[in-house]
Symmetry: C2
Subunit: 695 residues, 2 copies
C-alpha cells in the first residue's frame, strides 16, 4: 500500500473541506478491521503525506498548458492576431493555476470573475515576486508598457515555465471608440479575446457609472427636496411611519452618530436635532461630485442642469467626467476587501454644507446602495494572454486625478496564486515620475505590498525626443530623425530622462531593469547604445524586447533579467511620511521626483490646504495631477528639466479613495472625439458575429 494513497484514510466522518477536493485527494475505504499496530503505521503515513501534500499545494509550479504562437511577418492587425488564436476555456485556465471551481464565476467562455474568498484559502501561502512596469516620459503615442507587461508574462510562464500573472487595468470605452483604440496590448503580446477585453468585459466600469450617477442624482434631488419642504415634512418623509411605527434606517443612525446625536427613537429628537438631521444644507456652488459617462463626450465638460420647470429653478453648473475618472474607480483599485470598499464609499465627500462641513455619501443615505451596485465589480476578472498564461483585468483609475494602477486585490490574489517562486507583473500609468511614484506612495501604502523590481520601458523614439529630437505629435508624420539612425539623440535621451527615471526608482530602493521596446526602424547600434548607457545610469540590466513581433519568445532576455534582479534583496521605502504637512509632501515629490527648484501655491490652493488640515485630512498621501508629457509641468520640456518652479493651481481631495490631489495646470477629465473617430472603421459581420476594425 502506497503512503500517498492512504492519507485520507483516517478522516472517518470528518467533513472534507472543499479545498481538499482535488485530483490528488484519494480516499480509501477499508472494509476489513485493522490489525493492531497497523493504526499507528497508517497514522504516521497520513501525517507525512498530509504535510507533503500541503507543501505541494503551496509551492507547486503550475501545470500550465501554454498555447503555441506562430508569428507571421509582416505582423497582422491586433484583432486578426487575437482572433487567430483560440483561447483555452477559462475554467481550464483556472484549474491549471490552482483555482477551485467554486471560486470562479464564468462570464461566457473566455473570462471569469474570481471570488475574494481565495485570499482566505491561500492566506498562509507566501507571496510571489512583485514586478512593476513603468515607463520613461512618453511621446503622445505611448511607448508600450502594456505590451511589455504581456510579453514579459508570456516569456516567464510559457517559455521559462515560471508561474506568472499579469495584472492590467480595464480600459475605458472612450478611447476605444475615440482615438487611441484598445488597450489589450498589441501584436503578439495581447490579452485575448481583445474585443472582450476592450468592450464591456464583466461590466465593472458600467457598475461604477451606475453607482457614481446614483450618488449624483441623490445630491441634486436632495437639494430640491430640502429647498421645497419644512423640517417637519422632510422628517416625516425621511423617517416614514410604516404600519404606525417610525424607525431610523441603519444608515440614518450612522448620520445621527456623526452629528453627535446618540438617539435611536425618532420621537425623542429635539426640533434642533431634527433640523440638523434632515438638512444637509448642501451649498450648490461647493458640490465637487460630477456625473460620469464612459464615452468621450466633450459637450458634457461643462453643463447646466435642472432647467426643467419640475426642478423649480434649482439650476446649477456642473459637468461630466469620463467614468474611469470617478472616485469610485479609485476606490475599487485601492480597496482590499468588500468591507473596506463599503467604508470608503460611505466616506466619499461630495461637497460641503453652507457652513463648510463636508457632506458624505453616507449622509445622503445612498452608500449601502452604492456597495450593492459594486459588489461584483470588486472581484477581479481572469483572462489570458495569446500564449495561454493568466491575466487579471481589474480597475483602471485615471493616471492624473487618480493613481493610475490596477487593483490592490488583483495583485494580492495573483501574488498568492503564483506562490513563492512566481511573478506578478503589474503596470503603472503614464511615465514613472507619475505612475511609479503614485504606485509606491499610494498603492503600496494601501496594500502593504512591496515591489521587488521595476521594469522601465523605453523606446528609441522617445529617447530621441528627450535627446533633443524635433516635436512628435499624433496625426503628423514622424520626422526623419526618428526613422534614421541617430546615436547622439539616443544618447541625449538616455543621459536625461532615462537616467532621471532610474534615479527616481532608486529613491524608493527598488532595482530597475530597462526594457527597450524595439521598433523595426531601430538599428542595432541604437539598441546596443541604449542598453549600455542604461546600465551606466544605474539600471541593474537593460535588454531589447521583441514581444510585439515574436510574442513571449521575444521577451526571454527581459524575463531572465527580471528573474535575476528580483532575486536580490530590496530596501523598499516610501518617499515621504504621511504625517508630514501637505505642503511638504507636495514639495518633496516636486523636488525629488520632478527635479523642480520649488513649488508655487496659488491662494486657492493654499486655502484648500488649510481647509483639508482643519477637516482632519492632512495625513492623506498626495496624488499629483500633472502632465505626463514632461517631468515638469510644461509638456514641451523634454529630457530632465531642472530649475523650474512647479505651480500648484488648486488642491482637491478624494476622501473615500484616500488622497489629496494637487492640480498642476488644467487636467481634462473628459476626452473629446476627433473629426474621424476610430468608430468609422469598426463594424460587425452579422453572419459570423466577428468584429472588424478594432485595434
Amino acid at each position: 500500500m502506497q503512503a500517498d494513497a492512504v492519507f485520507l484514510l483516517s478522516v472517518g466522518n470528518m467533513e472534507i473541506p472543499p479545498s481538499w477536493a482535488r485530483p490528488e485527494t484519494v480516499i480509501i475505504h477499508c472494509e476489513s478491521a485493522l490489525e493492531p499496530g497497523m493504526t499507528d503505521y497508517l497514522l504516521h503515513n497520513v501525517t507525512h503525506s498530509c504535510s507533503r501534500w500541503l507543501q505541494e499545494q503551496q509551492y507547486r509550479p503550475w501545470n500550465l498548458c501554454s498555447c503555441k504562437l506562430q508569428p507571421l511577418n509582416p505582423v497582422p492587425t491586433d484583432i486578426e492576431i487575437s482572433r487567430a488564436q483560440t483561447p483555452k476555456p477559462v475554467a481550464q485556465l483556472a484549474e491549471e493555476i490552482g483555482l477551485l471551481p467554486e471560486e470562479l464565476e464564468a462570464y461566457g467562455r473566455n473570462k471569469a470573475k474570481v471570488q475574494l474568498s481565495l485570499l482566505d484559502r491561500l492566506h498562509s501561502q507566501p507571496d510571489g515576486k512583485y514586478v512593476l512596469v513603468a515607463g520613461i516620459t512618453p511621446t503622445p503615442f505611448g511607448e508600450g508598457k502594456t505590451t511589455v507587461t504581456v510579453g514579459l508574462v508570456q516569456a516567464l510562464s510559457a517559455h521559462l515555465k515560471l508561474n506568472s500573472f499579469a495584472c492590467l487595468r480595464q480600459p475605458s470605452q472612450g478611447p476605444t471608440f475615440g482615438v487611441k483604440g484598445g488597450a489589450a496590448g498589441g501584436g503578439y503580446a495581447q490579452v485575448i479575446p481583445m474585443e472582450e477585453f476592450n468592450l464591456h468585459l464583466t461590466g465593472d466600469i458600467h457598475a461604477i457609472t451606475a453607482a457614481n450617477n446614483l450618488l449624483a442624482a441623490a445630491i441634486d434631488a436632495r437639494i430640491l427636496h430640502e429647498a421645497t419642504q419644512s423640517d417637519k415634512s422632510l422628517f416625516k418623509r425621511l423617517v416614514p411611519s410604516v404600519y404606525g411605527v417610525r424607525k431610523f434606517s441603519p444608515i440614518q443612525i450612522s448620520r445621527l452618530r456623526r452629528l453627535g446625536i446618540n438617539k435611536t427613537d425618532p420621537a425623542s429628537l429635539t426640533p434642533e436635532e431634527v433640523s440638523s438631521f434632515v438638512r444637509l444644507d448642501l451649498d450648490p456652488s461647493q458640490i465637487t461630485w460630477q456625473r460620469v459617462v464612459d464615452t468621450n463626450d466633450r459637450f458634457l465638460r461643462k453643463i447646466t442642469v435642472g432647467q426643467a420647470s419640475t426642478e423649480k429653478g434649482q439650476i446649477r453648473e456642473t459637468g461630466f467626467d469620463i467614468a474611469v475618472a470617478s472616485e469610485i474607480m479609485a476606490i475599487l483599485a485601492l480597496a482590499d476587501s468588500l468591507k473596506d470598499m463599503k467604508n470608503r464609499l460611505a466616506r466619499m465627500v461630495v461637497g460641503s454644507s453652507r457652513s463648510g462641513e463636508p457632506v458624505t455619501a453616507e449622509d445622503l443615505g445612498v452608500s449601502g446602495a452604492l456597495a450593492v451596485l459594486m459588489k461584483d465589480a470588486i472581484k477581479p476578472t481572469l483572462m489570458q494572454t495569446l500564449e495561454g498564461t493568466p491575466v487579471f483585468v481589474h480597475a483602471g483609475p485615471f493616471a492624473n486625478i487618480a493613481h493610475g494602477s490596477s487593483s490592490v486585490l488583483a495583485d494580492k490574489l495573483a501574488l498568492k496564486l503564483v506562490g513563492r517562486d512566481g511573478y506578478v507583473v503589474t503596470e503603472a500609468g503614464f511615465g514613472a515620475d507619475i505612475g511609479m511614484e503614485k504606485f509606491f506612495n499610494i498603492k503600496c501604502r494601501a496594500s502593504g505590498l512591496s515591489p521587488n523590481v521595476m521594469v522601465l520601458v523605453a523606446t528609441v523614439r522617445a529617447l530621441k525626443m528627450h535627446g533633443g529630437g524635433p516635436n512628435v505629435s499624433a496625426g503628423a508624420p514622424l520626422p526623419k530623425e526618428y526613422i534614421n539612425e541617430n546615436l547622439s539623440l539616443v544618447a541625449g535621451g538616455c543621459h536625461s530622462n532615462l537616467k532621471k527615471q532610474i534615479q527616481n526608482a532608486h529613491l524608493f530602493g527598488v532595482p530597475v531593469v530597462v526594457a527597450l521596446n524595439v521598433f523595426k526602424t531601430d538599428t542595432q547600434a541604437e539598441i546596443d547604445l541604449v542598453c549600455q548607457l542604461a546600465k551606466e545610469c544605474g539600471a541593474s540590466d537593460a535588454v531589447p524586447c521583441r514581444h510585439w513581433s515574436q510574442g513571449g519568445r521575444g521577451s526571454l532576455e527581459l524575463a531572465m533579467a527580471v528573474k535575476e534582479a528580483a532575486g536580490r534583496p530590496t530596501n523598499f521605502q516610501f518617499l515621504y511620511n504621511t504625517e508630514m504637512p501637505i505642503l511638504e509632501k507636495i514639495r518633496t515629490i516636486a523636488q525629488k521626483v520632478y527635479g523642480a527648484e520649488d513649488i508655487d501655491l496659488s491662494p486657492e490652493a493654499s486655502s484648500k490646504i488649510d481647509y483639508y488640515n482643519q477637516q482632519g485630512y492632512g495625513s492623506l498621501p498626495i496624488c499629483m495631477a500633472k502632465t505626463h508629457l514632461s517631468l515638469s509641468h510644461m509638456p514641451d520640456k523634454k529630457g530632465a528639466p531642472t530649475g523650474f518652479v512647479l505651480p500648484i493651481r488648486d488642491v482637491r481631495a478624494s476622501i473615500g479613495a484616500g488622497f489629496i490631489f494637487p492640480l498642476v495646470g488644467t487636467m481634462s477629465t473628459m476626452p473629446g472625439l476627433p473629426t474621424r473617430p476610430c468608430f468609422y472603421d469598426i463594424d460587425l459581420d452579422p453572419e459570423t458575429e466577428e468584429i472588424i476594425g478594432l485595434f
Copy 2:
C-alpha cells in the same frame, strides 16, 4: 440487438452534427463483417429509429427537476423568499430544457445568455402556444402582471408538467433605487436570484446606455467639427491618407450611395460632392437624439451642454432620458436577428439637417460601432422561477414612448424550446389599452407571431376604483372602500373597464382569460362576483390566483383555464392596415380601443405628420404615448370613459425601431427621486455578501 441501439450504425464517416451529441445518441462499432440481408434489416431499423428519435427530440416534455416550495405565512419579504431558495445551476436548467452546452454563455452560476444559433437548430420545430399577459387599467400601485406571469409558468411547468417559459422585461435600475423597487415578481412568484435580476443582470441596459451615448457624443462632436473646419479640411480628416492612400470606409460608401454618389475613389469627387459628403449640416434645434442614464436623475431632464470654452460656443439645450427609453432599447426588443438589429441601428434618425433632410446614425459613421456594443445584448438571458422553471429576461422598452414588451427574440427562442404542446407566457406593460394594443399591432407585426390567449390581470382594488371608489394614490393610506367588502363598486369596475379591455382583445380575435390577483382583504363574495361578471362580459374564463402567497400551486386554476382557451382556434387580426394614412391609424386606435369620440391634432402634430409622409415613413405602425392610468388621456377618468376627444399634442418617430409615436399629453421620460428613495434601506453585509432591503 435492440433497434434503438443501432440507429447510428450506418452513418459511417458522416459528420455527426453537434445537435445529435446527446445522451440518447448511441454509436455501435461493428467489428465483424455483416451477413448478406443483414444490411437491409439494419437500414430499416436505422430509418425507423431515426425518425422516432427526431420526433422525440421535437415534442419531448422536459425532464424538469422542479424546486419544491414551502410557503410561509405571513409571507416574508421578496428578498428573504428569493434567498431562501437555492437556484439550480443554470447549466443544469439549460440541459433540462434541451439547450446544448455550446449554446449557453454562463454569467456566474445563476444566469446565462443563450445563443441565437438555437433558432437555426430548432428551425423545423413547431412553436408552442403563445400567451400574452396584460392588465386592466391599473392603480398607481400596479396590479401584478409580472407575478401573474411567473405564477402561471410555475403552475404550468412545475405542477402540470407542461413545458412553459416566461418572457420578462429587464427592469431599469432607476425604479429599483427610486420608488418602485424591483421587478422580478413578488412573494412566491419570483424570478431568482431577485437581486441579480434587478441589478446589472448581464449588462444589456449598460450596453444600450453606452451605445446611445456614443451616438450622442458623435452628434455634438460632428457639429463642432463642421462648424470649425472647411470642406477640404473635413474631407482630409474624414478620409485620411494612410501610407499615402485615401480610402472610404464601408460606412462612408453607404452614405455616398444614399447621397446618390456612386463613386469609390475619394479623388474623383467633385467639390460639390465633397461638400455634401462631409457636411451633415445638422440643425442644432432639430436634434431629437437625447443622452441616457439608467438612474432617476430629474435634474437631467432639461440641460444646456457645450458650455466649456473648448466647445467654442456651440451650446444647446437638450436632456437625458432614462436608459430604457432609448430607441436602442426598442430596437433590441423588436429585432429578429443580429443583421436586423444592425440595419435598424443604422436607420435611426437623430435629427435633421438645416435643409430638412433626416440624418441617421449611419451618416455619422457610428452604426457599426453601435452594433459592436450591442452584439452580446441581443442574446436573451436565461434565469429561473422560485420553482426552477425557465425564464427569459430580455429588453424592457418604456411602455409609453415605446411599445413596452420584452423581446421578439426571447419569445421566438422560447416558443421553439417549449415545442408544440408547450406555453410561452409573455407580458405587455401598462394596461391592455396600451400594452396589448402595441403588443399586437407593433410587436406581433414585427415578429410574425400570433398569440393564442390573452390573460387579463385584474384586482378587486383596481375594479373598485373603476367602479367609482375614491382616489387611490401612492404614499397615502388606502381608503376603507378598498379594505372592506363592497360588491357594487366591484360590479361597477367589471361593467366598465374590465368589459372594455375584454372587448379590446376581441377586436384582435384573441380569447381572454381573466386572472383575478387575490389580495388578503378580498372577500369570497367579491372574488365570485368578479369571476361571474367577467364571463358575462365575454371572457372565456375567469379565475382567482393565489400565486403571491402559494406559488405555482396558487395559479393552477389559471393554468387549466389558459390550457383550455389555448386549445381553441384563434382568428388573430391586426387592428389596422399600416398602409392607412397616419391620421387614420391614430383615429382607429383612439376610437376603437380607447373609446374616444374623435382625435384633435395640434398644428405641430399635423405638420409633423406631413413631414413623415413626405420622408416616406407614412406606413409605419403607431405607438401611442398616453397615460396608463385611464383609457382616456385624463388620468382621473376611471372606468370606461366615452365621448371625449383625444388631443394629439405632437407626433414623433423612432425610425430604427420602426414606429411613429403620437404624444397624448406630456410624457416624462426621466423619473425623479423622492425625498426618501428606496436606497435608504438597501445595504450589503460585507461578511456574507448578502444584500439587505431590496424588494
